[in-house]
């Protein structure tokens, strides 16, 4: 069929008033669900984000950085072992409603402690940093009938690179573009084989209102993060980006799969202050996403992941170094949450990986596969062969999704 893109590329700008996302019929997709993947670059500390306050090894190993529900700044108690970092206010509310769930001691299949290699694995969906040149989320979209994705990033991230159609979005510049200039440029770009397609998409995107009215705007006041300092929303910050993602995905014909990324999670020094601020941003991001996706929240699962956990011990600079097992978070109205998932390996003597890191007992891909199969209806055969090649060892986790549907 003639896609809307091709139609737009061939039409004058003034006539291009159609929406950019092709309308997906429920019959074509099996179900109309949404999935957001949030990547926290830098390595979020699992012991700080989901403190195992009930593990007797924890206070000893974390010293002054240890968090607990009974501390002066109480962590949010989840059960008798785990709590959530004090900054997770909104997430803690969702947890009570069964719409939030941490996974503890999780890691990608690569355990080498390099940011870039680990991020490559988290993004390319293999156990090797150079295991694929495309992203697993793109391959997931390619495995869904009529699938289309959105990457909220100024530059296409590896996670979303590949053959499936994915748009990028980031907060626009304030400058207006003269429509006559655009008319002059269109034939020039149409003649450039490498740039024709992205330019046509760029023009098409402008004809749809890119940001929903209720999304968090850059420059707006951020919710209090406990620091007592007022902060403004950053243009590329999680609340703005997740809010925008929710706005796109909340539309009936919006993208079913989206990606948001954030960085600044590499806490080699002065960790307490950094993690407090960053988790407050993530928490505000989840809240902004929930607000802007609206009713579609009930059909949505969000996964938040990072490339590795950090060392169990504090280093010499009040921070932690690159480690192994860390935490993941799931959220959404379609989630079967309100519990802590994963197998806790303990952090007592002899329980650490190489005597330094929290062990990893859950392969990221097991969580991804569980959500992709039950929530997006991606066939198991495609999950093993295409989305996460050579992942037979990482069995899909079951029971993650409340309204699970089999593949269409």
């Amino acid at each position: 069929m003639l896609t809307r893109r091709q139609f737009l590329a061939n039409s004058a700008i003034g006539a291009a008033t159609l929406m950019i996302w092709p309308k997906l019929t429920l019959a074509a997709t099996g179900s109309d669900t949404r999935f957001l993947f949030v990547l926290l670059r830098g390595g979020l500390d699992g012991l700080e984000s989901v403190p195992p306050y009930g593990d007797p090894g924890y206070p000893a190993i974390r010293g002054a950085l240890a968090l607990s529900p009974s501390a002066q700044e109480p962590a949010h108690k989840l059960d008798n072992v785990f709590a959530l970092h004090p900054s997770f206010d909104y997430a803690a509310q969702l947890y009570v409603q069964g719409q939030f769930m941490p996974v503890v001691a999780a890691a990608p299949p690569y355990w080498g402690r390099s940011h870039f290699q680990a991020q490559n694995c988290v993004e390319n969906g293999t156990a090797k940093p150079d295991g694929a040149q495309t992203g697993w989320l793109n391959r997931c979209i390619a495995s869904m009938p009529g699938g289309e994705g959105l990457a909220c990033a100024a530059v296409m991230p590896l996670t979303m690179r590949g053959t499936a159609k994915v748009e990028t979005w980031s907060p626009p510049l304030p400058t207006d573009v003269n429509p006559i200039l655009l008319q002059r440029l269109q034939p020039l770009y149409a003649a450039d084989a490498s740039l024709a397609a992205p330019f046509a998409r760029a023009v098409a995107q402008q004809t749809d209102s890119p940001v929903p009215d209720n999304a968090v705007k850059p420059g707006a006041d951020m919710p209090a993060d406990g620091s007592g300092r007022p902060r403004k929303q950053k243009a590329g910050g999680l609340p703005v980006m997740m809010g925008a993602a929710g706005g796109f995905m909340g539309k009936v014909d919006g993208p079913r799969v989206a990606f948001v990324e954030d960085d600044g999670w590499d806490t080699h020094a002065n960790e307490a202050a950094i993690v407090t601020r960053k988790i407050a941003e993530l928490d505000a991001g989840v809240r902004a996403f929930h607000q802007s996706i609206g009713a579609m929240w009930g059909r949505t699962v969000v996964i938040v992941a990072t490339e590795f956990g950090r060392t169990a011990h504090i280093n010499g600079t009040g921070g932690t170094d690159h480690g192994t097992g860390g935490s993941m978070f799931l959220a959404g109205g379609a989630l079967r949450g309100g519990r802590v998932a994963g197998n806790w390996p303990g952090i007592g003597s002899g329980e650490l990986y190489q005597n330094r890191d929290v062990h990893a007992t859950t392969d990221f891909r097991s969580v991804f596969k569980g959500v992709l199969a039950a929530h997006l209806g991606v066939a198991e055969s495609l999950l093993e062969s295409r989305v996460f090649p050579d992942s037979q060892g990482a069995e899909a986790l079951g029971n993650l999704v409340a309204s699970g549907r089999a593949a269409a």
Partner: protein, 497 residues
């Protein structure tokens, strides 16, 4: 298009920073033009003469820290202090905080002024430079040794590192540049080496004993090893990630680097006058011999770490890693293996002399292949626009800084020690192209309304790359400003071809 015309545009666009008016016409022998620039080395035209050095910046930071410290009293708990939690602080604490803010204000204003002055000088140099190939190399190495200013403690030092550690060595030996970078405050602060302490060093043992006596289990206070610099120096700066080194090598190298630091605020206190922005703290240095990648380095002080750097700089893996990156930057995302090998050979045969590697690149036919091209990064796009129209910033770089941030390449802020991607495929996407059109409109507003004849201007800047359709579009522009916007936004202008 004739072959020699292509070589000229390649020299000016792909090796250089994009044409200044008259530049394309002035180049008769592209290879000789590039080699002559190498002979001149980095020439900043005195643009940096009035800027403070890293030691000045360290002194300033020390004054700020000491001011802050005088306010660090009261009954706030450690965690509340770390969080800046004023609600749980006492009344005194709140008054204290307001006074502190007031006291710090002049420092913050000064810092902001300095950051802008650094940026203004940097973009001034690139806009007017007559040695654009060398300036591109400076940017290349600056990104190779990326320092990201989202790390607050490093943010005053990223621009000085480029001036102080990279420019002096850009046509010299890589081994010298490497040592200059790894001893620069920017890198030592960015990758957390300043407080990395050998556990068996004098300082490490003393701290451990003191804490044990007090029964203090807070390991955050104890001196400890930090692996960040050691790891990235191997993975990103020298041998590269597939060179076969192990976690044990990283730890050994990091131990050798313990004590590599900068003057602390207390070193400036009480009339203290540190003479260098780099300090080797022998009492924090881990004693003993080190074993890195199969070689043993005898126990020693500063020279132990610098010997390892010299060793790493001369590894064949480093030669290949750097040559591949250079070829990817100057030729294409997937450069011919033959070219990379030739450059790597040159690197090793000339004892890490970078000028020799560049000359090999220039002399290689692969570098002049008609298919060789790169998509301009946002930096390339903005700089080539500034050069084309000779847009002067008059000491106000803010519009350019904002533009680069919005285009996805904020200045000195790649957010990772790996730097910004140098892969063209990663920069080509719908959102980015749209923002370039917006940026072209914005930049055209800064073009002096001189008596440019727009078409002649476009011919001057693009030369044989100006195709008939683009020429037509520029000819039809209703104003000089729209003609400039059309040029900057045209697909022909987006490539380093």
């Amino acid at each position: 298009m004739n072959a020699s015309g292509n070589d000229v545009t390649a020299a000016v666009n792909r090796f250089g920073l994009g044409a200044k008016p008259g530049e394309l016409a002035s180049v008769h022998d592209p290879r000789a033009w590039l080699n002559a620039q190498l002979a001149r080395g980095a020439d900043d035209g005195n643009a940096f003469a009035d800027l403070p050095g890293s030691l000045d910046y360290l002194r300033e930071e020390a004054q700020l820290q000491m001011t802050r410290r005088t306010f660090k009293q009261g009954d706030r708990g450690r965690r509340a202090f770390l969080l800046g939690d004023m609600q749980s602080a006492s009344q005194d604490g709140q008054a204290n905080a307001a006074a502190l803010k007031q006291a710090l204000k002049p420092y913050r204003q000064e810092t902001r002024k300095e950051l802008l002055a650094e940026a203004a000088a940097r973009y001034q140099v690139t806009t007017v430079s007559d040695t654009p190939f060398v300036e591109r190399l400076v940017r290349f190495w600056s990104n190779h040794f990326a320092v990201s200013v989202d790390k607050r403690s490093a943010r005053l030092f990223a621009a000085p590192m480029e001036r102080e550690a990279i420019r002096p060595h850009v046509t010299g030996r890589f081994a010298d540049m490497l040592l200059a970078v790894e001893t620069h405050p920017a890198m030592l602060l960015y990758l957390d080496n300043v407080r990395s302490v050998g556990p068996n060093s004098l300082l490490g043992r003393r701290t451990a004993m003191r804490l044990a006596r007090k029964g203090d289990m807070d390991q955050g206070k104890a001196g400890g090893l930090n692996e960040n610099l050691g790891r990235e120096a191997m993975e990103l700066h020298t041998v590269g990630v597939n060179a076969g080194y192990t976690q044990a090598d990283v730890i050994e190298f990091s131990r050798a680097l313990t004590g590599w630091s900068v003057p602390y605020p207390r070193d400036f206190a009480n009339g203290g006058q540190p003479q260098s922005a780099f300090v080797f703290r022998a009492n924090a240095h881990e004693p003993g011999a080190r074993h890195v990648m199969g070689k043993t380095f005898a126990a020693g002080g500063l020279e132990q770490g610098s010997d390892i750097l010299q060793f790493l700089a001369r590894q064949p893996a480093t030669a290949r890693h750097l040559s591949l990156q250079l070829a990817q930057h100057f030729v294409s995302d997937h450069p011919p293996q033959s070219l990379v090998e030739r450059m790597a050979k040159s690197y090793l045969e000339h004892d890490t002399d970078l000028a020799a590697v560049y000359r090999t690149l220039i002399a290689s036919p692969e570098a002049w292949d008609a298919e060789a091209r790169k998509f301009k990064t946002p930096q390339d796009f903005v700089i080539s626009s500034l050069r084309a129209a000779q847009i002067g910033l008059d000491g106000r770089p803010q519009p350019v800084l904002a533009l680069l941030k919005d285009l996805g390449e904020p200045v000195f802020n790649p957010r990772s020690p790996a730097g910004f991607t140098d892969n063209s495929a990663n920069w080509i996407d719908a959102d980015g192209l749209w923002k370039r059109v917006q940026a072209a409109e914005a930049l055209s507003a800064y073009v002096a309304q001189s008596n440019h004849v727009p078409l002649a201007f476009a011919q001057d800047i693009l030369g044989p790359l100006l195709d008939e359709d683009t020429a037509q579009a520029i000819r039809r522009a209703e104003s000089a400003r729209q003609a400039h916007a059309t040029l900057f936004a045209s697909p022909a202008f987006q490539w380093r071809a």
